[in-house]
Symmetry: C2
Subunit: 544 residues, 2 copies
């Protein structure tokens, strides 16, 4: 299905030559549009053929419509919303000509027709790990046709279509006749945000979802609570946020959460909630009595608290109720249980915990105690007919993971070895380790993220297939609404292409050219993505 | 004049105790207001005495006015503008009570009276290196009195006053009775912005000036053009920006420049223009024929160009005219001539330049050729009755610097040794080397900037006095309007306090506490300063 790069360049050359003689569009210095044979498409589709024939789009006539034979129609509000959104991305940032648009005979693209081929288009469903995102885009006179089994593929195809349209100096819009077949390499392509170290206003989260859609990400991993604060407003246990949030201004109400989930759904993005336990839970203790382990100095409580108290029945009763609510509020089939960085010192200091461990026998350990706790959490999630995702320590410490539990690999030192081990056990894995975007450094670090090959570990094909994808993680210690967007974009875009495009898409020069244009496109669409290097965009950031 | 830290803490303790019993204001987690004995003042004044007596401010009655005996009155638009601005900072972000404000008898502060004591208040002047910024602030019932020789001190005092006012949970404003005497440690406290690697919209520059005033910076070092682009629109040579800018959207018109200078003046900030030559000038060559040196490969021109061509009379005629304009457009008594990082390879390849060097004799060198060029530029600036600032290479290479030329030290490897050498020669110096804020790293790097002691080099008192101050430099390779503000603030604030406050103000814990609150205050005032660490602000950033 895929054309070779050499053939692509030949095809493009003719297109570029034909275009250069008639177009006087000023190029951005970051990336002349023609410097990549693929145009400024990001991430690169699996197969793309671009012809030299240029078609004009007239904003006042051009339509995005349901095609004949599509199983989706005007009642599919997900698509209706997407049509309006992409019309705006295509033409919205430009001043529309008020005069009659000249029709250039025989070269006009009149419409983009969307055809959903499956009998069940999924208009009112939530995306999940197995959602079909494949699409086929055929752009030619008089109409372009975007075919997909499901609405999810249509969303991805709309994004690609919108990236192929360009505007010349006179405000005229064009697209080259093209054929594209596209589908993702990995099913799980996530962005982790952390709303506990700093609260992120709703608007920042929605803007992040916009940018994710522009980069074909499909999972918002919402690390919603942590030691520092508990902004999630629980219906069952409202004291958790009443006491554990930074303030009453720093809370996500049930309405906020529903809004995020629906905004994400409309963009084909899953919202994966993480309620990290038994460590990283200091804020839980403020609104829930006895949920944390009291730490001791000898025989006396110090007044400090450690991880969740794993030896009380009350703990598990509370957790069962709490996660039941989480399972209802968040429609995703996965719940992230955390399980990272559990400090045993407080457990070891507490007489009752010590006694509990001692009673289990000499073979027992605090690592086993942690697994004991996690196993119970895994059971809770199972009982909700949901699946669990856990950080890698849970696997490393030998918890009893069912074969549909997913292990997220985050430790940077030897993630390839960890991937090998996890998949060797037949467990699915998600890779986060090389993509901790909170670590910043001078220069073009996007290249480092781009060069990662998630399947470079040693293992058989069956093992490789167990890698569901990866996540770019922006932990919040030094990030809040002031710097979230420029710190995340376009650095996360590098991860986006790695997880979507073919394994052999590794040309850094070509990527730089496309990504520079893609970054300028994000600016036009209201995403304050920071620059890759020196240069400019034709349309700079709005409201700097 | 200065109270000892121990005494301060004692004084504060009583104040804090008195306040804590009656105030239920929620504290920001980043810095409970009471955790510094000085309150959230940044930079710390030279002498501050805070009493436990709290005075109320009623927004609808409180006034900032000219005091009796002041040489400035309502005709002083600089102060009128500042009064309005600081009234807004004091009360603007809060919802004013519409109901009658309760008067708490005997505890209300009715007004802040500004008294300019010099016969010439400088209302219509530009600030300069010797502008007097000292002020005395006496806050007590029924009015506070801010005394300063000149308007510049009044501006600094207004900022300090505004930082001492706080709002309780019920929306009531208070200030503690206090006495402050304050003046800067260094006269030159600059922020370098680079509008050539990326264009910065006017709004970003004005916002930067706002933030500078909040941190008592007084010099905007405007590195306005460089290799990559020439956004400065010259009246005399309009082709320079017509050809050398990124696009017609990426130009500073004469009106823009005037606006920046006036906006800065109203905040007591000088605008120091830098037109860097003979290197860093690729963009000049696009709009000015023959100004750059043609590079050669053997006997043939390569089509590339090097630094300014130093052997043509036309070069010097052009430069004389150009800098005459610069001297007129920018009122500051200093012009920054650049002079850094000159690459000799192109000069060495050019037959005419080679011949020029050969003719001077065996003792001549390309370093001397560079000094020959710079000496002529120094003469041009002198002839305009202005003074020059140059980067350190100009000094290192032995140009003939007059005793009022300033050397800016930027090389990181041994800046103390360089400061010693420069001042040993009797030349004034500005320190930039340890404060290159474009270099980023994970974590709280503001501490590194804070710990720098600019006078740590070995030298006599006379030498130390020659250090005029320093600059925080945010070079623009990876910075544009998307990330300028959060990357600059509050990191540059650390430099701001180092350059303003006493040498012995080095307590990191106290600084963290005050800076965290100061950062929250910047957010309230519309500066998207990034977080120092985990936590929150009561009022988060506007329009994230």
């Amino acid at each position: 299905m895929e054309l070779s790069a050499v053939l692509m360049r030949l095809l493009w050359l003719s297109a570029a030559l034909a275009a250069s003689s008639s177009s006087r569009r000023p190029r951005s210095a970051e990336a002349p549009q023609s410097s990549s044979p693929f145009g400024p498409v990001w991430p690169l589709p699996r197969s793309i053929r671009i012809s030299p024939d240029r078609l004009q789009l007239a904003p006042r006539r051009f339509q995005i419509v349901h095609g004949a034979g599509s199983s989706a129609g005007p009642q599919c509000s997900l698509l209706q919303d997407a049509f309006r959104r992409y019309y705006e991305y295509l033409f919205g940032y430009s001043k529309h000509q008020k005069h009659e648009e000249k029709s250039l005979a025989n070269t006009e693209l009149a419409a983009l027709q969307i055809i959903i081929t499956s009998e069940e288009p999924d208009c009112d469903k939530y995306p999940d790990i197995s959602s079909d995102e494949e699409y086929n885009l055929s752009i030619g006179e008089p109409v372009a046709v975007l075919k997909a089994e499901k609405v999810w593929g249509a969303l991805r195809g709309l994004e690609t279509f919108s990236q192929l349209v360009f505007e010349d100096d006179y405000g005229t819009f064009f697209i080259n006749a093209s054929d594209i077949t596209d589908f993702p390499r990995f099913a799980h392509r996530g962005i982790l945000i952390d709303t506990a170290r700093h609260f992120l206003p709703l608007k920042s989260i929605l803007t992040t979802l916009d940018a994710m859609a522009f980069n074909k990400f499909n999972v918002l991993h919402w690390h919603i609570v942590d030691d520092q604060s508990f902004p999630y407003q629980s219906i069952t246990f409202p004291e958790l946020s009443a006491q554990g949030s930074y303030s009453y201004n720093h809370i996500y109400t049930p309405t906020d959460v529903r809004l995020v989930i629906e905004y994400a759904r409309l963009r084909g993005i899953r919202v994966l909630p993480e309620f990290d336990t038994p460590g990283h839970t200091q804020s839980w203790g403020k609104g829930q009595k006895d949920i944390l382990t009291p730490c001791y100095n000898g025989e006396h409580p110090t007044g400090s608290y450690g991880p969740i108290n794993p030896i009380l029945n009350a703990t598990y009763e509370f957790m069962a109720k709490f996660f039941k609510e989480v399972g209802t509020v968040f429609p995703d089939e996965y719940i992230h249980l955390g399980g990272d960085e559990v400090d045993f010192s407080c457990w070891k200091s507490n007489p009752a915990v010590k006694e509990f461990v001692r009673k289990q026998g000499v073979w027992y350990s605090y690592t086993k105690l942690e697994s004991y706790y996690i196993d119970k959490m895994l059971d809770v999630v199972s009982s909700l007919n949901k699946k669990s995702i856990v950080w890698q320590e849970v696997f490393d410490n030998g918890a009893e993971l069912s074969s549909d539990s997913v292990v997220e690999v985050w430790m940077g030192n030897s993630y390839e070895e960890e991937l090998r081990k996890v998949t060797k056990e037949g467990l699915p894995a998600i890779l986060a380790a090389p993509w901790y975007l909170d670590y910043i450094s001078y220069g073009q670090d996007w290249m480092k993220y781009y060069k990662v090959e998630p399947l470079s570990f040693s293992g058989c094909e069956t093992q490789k297939k167990l890698v569901l994808g990866g996540e770019a993680c922006l932990w919040g210690e030094y990030v809040d609404a002031t710097n979230l967007i420029p710190r995340l974009w376009p650095r996360a875009s590098a991860v986006g292409e790695r997880l979507w495009s073919s394994k052999n898409v590794t040309d850094l020069e070509d990527a730089y050219s496309r990504l520079s244009e893609h970054r300028c496109r994000m600016l036009r669409r209201g995403i304050a993505a920071q620059p890759l290097n020196v240069g400019f965009c034709r349309h700079e950031v709005r409201n700097p």
